[in-house]
């Protein structure tokens, strides 16, 4: 990307032979090679995690702004990989969902294998009105069900978004919890209930 930009600039200016030679170096590739050397498996965090997958590579190479056509194609792929519950029920228990949303556990080298992780949701989102310690990387989800309703379509959207946020927004900051195996089907259902159940404090007045 940067190399390409420099080439265009250089064609216009001439006085940039040195700059071009510098920019042509692929620092990204050097950085990846360096990380592959330096990072080691610890606990469940295996060394192969520094390898980017196809979606990560596209987002990394385009500074999270892929060309529209590519983004749409890849979002479609992500969408197709979402596994909806076979029984068609998408709402679980909002109380269990609240506990999951609170928990920041999961997938780090200090987490144990086989212990179910949490959703990390409050790290990034305002959700229930009683919790004042919430992050701001994502938008507020307070009153989510009240604003959107809880029709089958909205339930499907919420389930899909938590399962694979990238199916809707390719380079979103939000993890792909179902896709990554970070949350199970029943955990995602509980989180959908937290957001959409009319009884959930998220939707209280």
């Amino acid at each position: 990307m940067t190399a390409m930009k420099t080439t265009i600039l250089c064609a216009a200016t001439l006085a940039c032979g040195a700059a071009l030679a510098e920019e042509v170096r692929d620092y990204r590739a050097e950085a990846i090679a360096m990380m592959k050397r330096d990072f080691k498996t610890r606990g469940i965090a295996t060394a192969d995690r520094v390898h980017e997958d196809g979606l990560q590579a596209i987002c990394n190479r385009t500074s999270d702004h892929p060309p529209k056509a590519i983004a749409e194609r890849l979002e479609r792929d992500q969408m197709e990989s979402i596994k909806y519950p076979p029984d068609g029920k998408l709402m679980g228990d909002w109380k269990a969902g609240e506990k999951l949303a609170q928990s920041g556990r999961g997938m780090t080298w200090s987490d144990k294998a086989g212990v179910p992780g949490g959703g990390n949701c409050y790290n990034c989102h305002q959700i229930g009105p009683q919790e004042t310690s919430f992050g701001t990387i994502g938008p507020s989800l307070y009153q989510f069900g009240k604003l959107r309703g809880n029709t089958p379509d909205v339930q499907k959207y919420a389930y899909g978004k938590i399962y694979n946020a990238k199916a809707f927004n390719l380079c979103s900051a939000m993890p792909r919890f179902g896709h990554a195996g970070a949350l199970t089907e029943s955990q995602i259902k509980d989180l959908v209930a937290l957001l959409l159940d009319p009884q959930s404090p998220v939707n209280s007045k």
Binding site: E22, R25, Y27, R28, E30, A31, I32, M34, M35, R37, D38, F39, K40, T41, R42, A45, T46, A47, R49, V50, H51, E52, D53, L55, Q56, C59, N60, S63, Q102, M107, T108, W109, S110, Y122, N123, C124, Q126, P129, Q130, E131, T132, S133, F134, G135, T136, I137, S140, Y142, Q143, L147, K166, A173, P175, R176, A180, G181, A182
Partner: protein, 287 residues
């Protein structure tokens, strides 16, 4: 000294209070929550901590570690009689004043860019006979032990107190290291698709109540330096920049970077050179 002790004891009491609070879910009266723009909330611990940090910083609990580091730097001898007076931190053998704010830098004797922590450990192994594999066994402090190299780092850092950060970007390797560091900063991978930039790439972000500096900006990149090494309130020991990087990679759900590795030097070079020109206030206090 008496006054220092009393402050430190107060710190110990506070530390205990933090530890207890940290275990309990915080239940506070909810402010009116708004769906659109979440109000900036600070929990009780943060507010208390910030009040206390000012009191503590006047007295500076890091001084105990500084003193120990100074003793090692000035008096300890290696097996063949060498000492840290031979250690070149970039400004000449034995020169400590101002060295901390001018690293990472290129060191011709090793043909590499090294950050302060890496260089200091290098010297302690070379001149004082410390074993690198021992240091790697416990690179970071915990409540039972603050390793010697951490005290030396604290001493060296204190000798740059109130100086301007001036990380050199002249040698081709220094420039290359900066650019690789920038790539690592933006590199998303792992099960959560996180990069440093996910949490530190835009303005005004928070995780829970912790403010996340936008480390791409000079005015906030200073936070890669400011207060590091830092005295940890909730434990009473010193933590270094290398520890901070290690723990952020843990939160990023990455595998573990080897201690003193090239990748960490590159990241530190990127962030600290971005902060060039700003004033480093010396070892600090961290929650």
């Amino acid at each position: 000294m008496k006054q220092r002790l009393s402050t430190l004891m107060a710190a110990a009491v506070m530390t205990a209070a933090f530890a207890v609070q940290a275990q309990q879910p915080m239940k506070k009266a909810p402010p009116p929550a708004k769906a659109a723009a979440p109000a900036k909330a600070k929990d009780g611990i943060t507010a208390e901590f910030e009040k206390f940090r000012e009191v503590l910083e006047e007295d500076n609990p890091a001084e105990l570690f500084e003193a120990k580091g100074e003793d090692i730097w000035k008096h300890k001898k290696g097996p063949d009689g060498a000492s840290m007076a031979q250690c070149d931190l970039g400004l000449g053998a034995g020169v400590v004043k101002g060295a901390y704010v001018q690293m990472p830098r290129y060191f011709a004797d090793v043909g590499q860019v090294m950050d302060a922590e890496r260089r200091i450990v290098h010297c302690m192994v070379k001149y004082l006979g410390y074993k690198e594999e021992d240091i790697r066994k416990q690179p970071f402090s915990n409540d039972s032990k603050t390793p010697d190299h951490v005290s030396v780092i604290t001493y060296v850092a204190a000798q740059s107190r109130n100086m301007k950060i001036a990380v050199p970007q002249k040698h081709p390797k220094e420039i290359e290291t900066f650019r690789i560091g920038r790539e690592i900063f933006d590199y998303r991978a792992g099960p959560y698709d996180f990069s440093c930039a996910t949490c530190h790439g835009s303005d005004g972000m928070r995780i829970r109540t912790q403010d996340l500096p936008n480390l791409r900006k000079p005015a906030e990149a200073i936070r890669a330096y400011q207060g590091w090494p830092g005295y940890r309130m909730t434990g009473g020991f010193m933590l270094t920049q290398q520890w901070r990087m290690n723990d952020c990679f843990r939160q990023q759900r990455f595998p573990e970077p080897a201690y003193l590795s090239d990748s960490i030097t590159a990241l530190l070079t990127y962030m600290t050179a971005t902060a060039n020109g700003q004033v480093y206030k010396g070892p600090g206090i961290k929650r």
